[in-house]
Symmetry: none
Subunit: 307 residues, 2 copies
């Protein structure tokens, strides 16, 4: 069957996901009683610095939304044709499995204000449940030489040492999207909540070493690196994210409500030694996250957010 | 002149910028021999979970690109109309100043660690130079009723009052990309650097009111709002950004190194009253930014980043 025939036979059942930044939607439906997933993403403009972007050829119709002083904004219809200016790219998976469906479905997120009480009551036991086999892959990297052929730097000191390696999300080619990960050897820091004034020198040294090594190995300057951690992190063994400031898009991974600049951490524990023990910390949490599904967590969250 | 007439008269001269992730382009041109900047960003799909996304109504035409096993990808033309499925949003600035052109052109960015000394020496005089006519449009909104037909909320109290209105970046249709802006009436807060413990109650109340009003007027919950400020802000009159957490990313506008959660601000000045006066603050700065081009700023930056 041709893709056009498949599209014609697609019977829509549910909107799985949508992304207003990339302008894409994911639809679940069926074709001949088998599951099918359709992803449609709007196309970028054909960017060619030689091209004449006359609005007359680009814009078919327009309607003003509003204006203020020298600023005008309006909605427009763009000229489109399949050869050189299609309006979107459409991907189809058919037949799609349940695993495909789970992977492509979105989840709702909530902005949580985690008080120190919520941390102690819910997060501490959750972190304990996430250790062991679940982070075996981290220990494999740190102590078993796994992925060592990709290491950018390796200091084996059990306390101050760490591994610096390319993140899975980086293609290792495009310098603009440089993405490194530093994983520390020590096992006593699960998250930012464990950091206090005793870690100032430790963190300052790691930051210095990361900047030194990254700028020696890659075509990037010290002031072109954004170094941050996550809370909640995706695994509870202390690690850092190192990204080129030119990176064109990192979604929530780099956003407030998840990312925290290492410089902020250092400054905060310098000013207030137990800053991360006594602070309420705001973060986004997906409904599929383990924490969201712990008895009592949601109620505590609701109390905190209503204040 | 209507925006349609302005668009018709736009004479293209140069592609200033393009973003393949957000599908947007920025064009420099002229209208009647004065500079004009046009930004066109493709629209998101109208996401409504009640809606039937039948491909027959969505897709006008399609052409296969390739297929492999159960995976097919093709280019398509989408149905579009100005009422409920415009293909793009077009913003026009006319007449545009050199400052606008620099702001919208692509540029290198640097991660700056602004010490309190750098703030006092370089940023304070810079802020003074940015007041007056440059933020006339803000005063138009606050005190002259400009855009008042779009106001979501307006409290005219000169100290505690503020205006809540849709941000220019929001199409006002898609709830997933809800983006509101709150601009305060008081004129004595240029940036986060001016906030201290005397502002705790003021900020807590603004946050409560924003959450209350936004959840009353729009299909969004209190824990689905991400409320933050910018440092450096794009204009030096205190304002807040309010975004649906479903907006998966807004480029650097929501990233650490530019965005600061309002909750973080409140917590920080609770713990340390003069937190934002004595902190070194890290942020990304483009080479076209006025600060970058002030004598001595770059040298101070380099000293700070090498440490």
């Amino acid at each position: 069957m041709s893709v056009n025939e498949l599209i014609a036979k697609f019977h829509f059942s549910k909107l799985l996901n949508g992304n207003p930044q990339t302008k894409s939607i994911v639809l679940l439906g069926s074709i001949d009683d088998q599951n099918a997933i359709v992803t449609i993403e709007k196309s970028h403009f054909l960017v060619d610095h030689e091209k004449d972007f006359s609005l007359a050829s680009l814009v078919q119709d327009s309607e003003i939304i509003n204006q203020n002083d020298i600023y005008y904004w309006s909605k427009v219809l763009l000229a489109q044709n399949l050869n050189d200016s299609p309006s979107a790219k459409l991907n189809l998976i058919f037949p799609a499995t349940e695993t495909h469906i789970r992977k492509y479905a979105g989840q709702n997120h909530h902005y949580v204000r985690e008080t120190p009480e919520m941390y102690n009551k819910f997060v501490v036991p959750y972190i304990e449940s996430q250790k062991g086999d679940r982070i075996k892959w981290v220990y494999n990297i740190l102590f078993e030489g796994k992925e060592s052929e990709t290491f950018v730097y390796h200091d084996t000191d059990p306390v101050t040492g760490f591994v610096l390696l390319p993140d899975m999300k980086w293609d290792t080619i495009n310098m603009e999207s440089l993405y490194l990960c530093a994983i520390v050897n020590r096992m006593d820091i699960s998250s930012v909540r464990d950091l206090n004034s005793s870690h100032i020198e430790y963190l300052v040294n790691i930051q210095k070493l990361i900047k030194k090594v990254a700028t020696e190995k890659f075509a990037v300057q010290k002031d072109e690196l954004r170094i941050f951690i996550h809370y909640q992190p995706s695994y509870y063994h202390f690690h850092l994210h190192i990204v080129n400031v030119k990176h064109p898009g990192l979604g929530d991974g780099i956003a407030v409500g998840k990312a925290i600049l290492l410089d902020d951490v250092i400054e905060n524990i310098k000013v207030t030694g137990d800053y991360y023990q006594k602070r309420t910390i705001g973060y986004l949490l997906g409904e599929n996250h383990g924490l969201w599904n712990i008895d009592g967590y949601r109620e505590a969250h609701q109390d905190s957010i209503d204040n």
